[in-house]
Assembly symmetry: C2
Homo-oligomer: 336 residues x 2
């Protein structure tokens, strides 16, 4: 437990030092985000804020997560999480780089993003499937049962991986929103993995390393909120949101807790869902009546709340609280 606290503090410290160094640098490199045309009008004032802030918090999490890990047999989970985090993070980096450097507003096309994501996900899912301590089953939370998906594990896990990472990306729309919600998720993951490690002697090293990396992520993001909270001085960019999504889903995959994701990461889930509902309903009504209709004033859902007149900071606080409440309920299933 002390090691976990050290991980939080150490990652916090690294990010604390990196932030003030990186922000002017990101700004100078003209990495100021060109605000998405389709966002709320009030967001235009955010033009010029530097982006790619993922580069500020990722190093602290990676360095501390690896440095404090325990080597030996129990490192395969950590490797899988690292590949997921760095792989998805790299895709986000390329997207940001094209947007910012080539000034091509949209970055990669959806297909150009999706193909490498799927390839990476297949690799990860197969790796997990073939790893004895992960395998093809999911734990069903709260009822202490396992659900063996057999070879179906691979396509389903690919869907979960791609879905989570893109949901994290969608949630990254308001100052401090994704950083704060995922910080709560990582604290939860840390506590769950740590609790699991106490009960599972044979797999203790793997689970402890997972908990330590989750602690490092939480510490790093906690400090990042200093720069990313309202009013944000830096955005995390796709490199940040994909890195967060990749880390979170990687941890869920190795601990077999993918079924927890719609609960602890409900804000990500809802962002995707609202987007899908919005687009589908628009297409359906367009086809049916010739005129496309919308369910929400704007998708994802946080923009709908904003346009309904709720101040940005209050939407963010509410999202934090929903996350915290559901994470607490989830933890009831794990602690004695």
């Amino acid at each position: 437990m002390q090691r976990l606290i050290w991980a939080i503090i150490a990652a916090f410290a690294v990010t604390f030092v990196l932030g003030p160094i990186m922000i002017p640098w990101l700004k100078k490199l003209k990495f100021g985000q060109t605000i998405y045309d389709l966002g709320p009008q009030s967001h235009m004032k955010k033009q010029g804020t530097p982006t790619m802030g993922g580069l500020i918090f990722a190093p602290g999490a990676l360095v501390v997560g690896v440095a404090l890990s325990k080597g030996g047999a129990g490192s395969v989970y950590l490797w899988m999480i690292l590949v997921s985090a760095l792989g998805f993070g790299a895709i986000g980096f390329v997207d940001d780089f094209i947007k910012v450097h080539l000034k091509r507003h949209e970055g990669l096309t959806p297909k150009q993003k999706l193909v490498p994501q799927i390839i990476l996900s297949i690799g990860l899912a197969v790796w997990a499937y073939l790893t004895p301590s992960v395998g093809s089953s999911w734990t069903i939370p709260f009822v202490n049962a396992e659900w063996n998906l057999g070879v179906l594990y691979i396509p389903v896990m690919v869907f979960v991986l791609v879905g989570t990472v893109n949901s994290a990306n969608l949630l990254d729309g308001l100052d401090g929103l994704l950083a704060g919600c995922s910080m709560i998720d990582f604290i939860t993951m840390m506590l769950i993995a740590f609790t699991m490690s106490l009960a599972d002697e044979g797999n203790r090293g793997n689970l402890l390393n997972t908990a330590i990396f989750a602690a490092a992520m939480a510490g790093s993001l906690m400090c990042f909120l200093r720069f990313n909270g309202y009013p944000a001085r830096v955005f995390m960019g796709d490199v940040g949101s994909f890195f967060i999504g990749g880390t979170l889903v990687g941890m869920a995959m190795v601990t077999k807790l993918s079924l927890l994701l719609p609960i602890i990461a409900i804000t990500m889930f809802v962002s995707s869902l609202s987007d899908i509902i919005q687009v589908s309903y628009f297409k359906y009504t367009k086809k049916k009546t010739g005129e496309g209709k919308r369910v929400f004033k704007m998708a994802p859902l946080h923009h709908h709340f904003e346009l309904s007149g709720i101040p940005e900071t209050r939407v963010v606080t509410s999202y934090y609280l929903v996350t915290a409440a559901l994470c607490l309920l989830t933890m009831l299933g794990f602690v004695a």
Copy 2:
């Protein structure tokens, strides 16, 4: 541990229900705060926001903290904390009520507030002194030693009680500031008291009840942030800040951890200190040169930061982070 999580969730739920009922009621009763003339100019827009929000979060903490407590021998700590919380809260209530109802802007005079505070504190300090499991010594954190103050315990503890409660009151100057900082403090108190309960068989009930009440406070304040975070829909008022201060210092008193207060509640400590420095320096220079000079643009320190051009929300986030970092460091001294 499960009981602690339940306490957080239950208190959260009570406040979640109370908030939307109480806010319009507080507004209707014309409990809108008359903003302090001496605050920053930008705060004038906050005129009309209802106050006495302490009445929203206190019930959840009290009901849940008492309902989930374990009766029997181990309830003297809980009683002491309750007397401290309700006693100081009542003084705050009277102050708010005079301000709001009688429209007497300043509420009670400093002396009218201080006298009942001191009387209450003497009662609490003597009670603690005479209680065998509390006694006259303080734990020196991190070095595993005790410091026996003898009969001096009483005046020193009175100073700590009055000082902490008024410091909490001073910190309550920006949206979500005191609620968030003290929420982090109560989570820390919960974890520390719980850890202490594991090691101290003879005093387990008392320490567990303390942890449960801290959990209830944390849950209730967490939800209160939904209403009190920027932009605040309700202020907590003196009833809120005195209740928080009274609870926190009561917990420190019974666990003998008063020496931790300047660390985990550093933001309160600094608020008082900056106020004292400001006033003393002004008086000193006035006497010396005939013209009073100031160290800070405005005291307490958070107003200085605000007037230095840092956005309110960023000051608040920074205060949270400093609190979180120091609480984490403190916990290193308690967990294995």
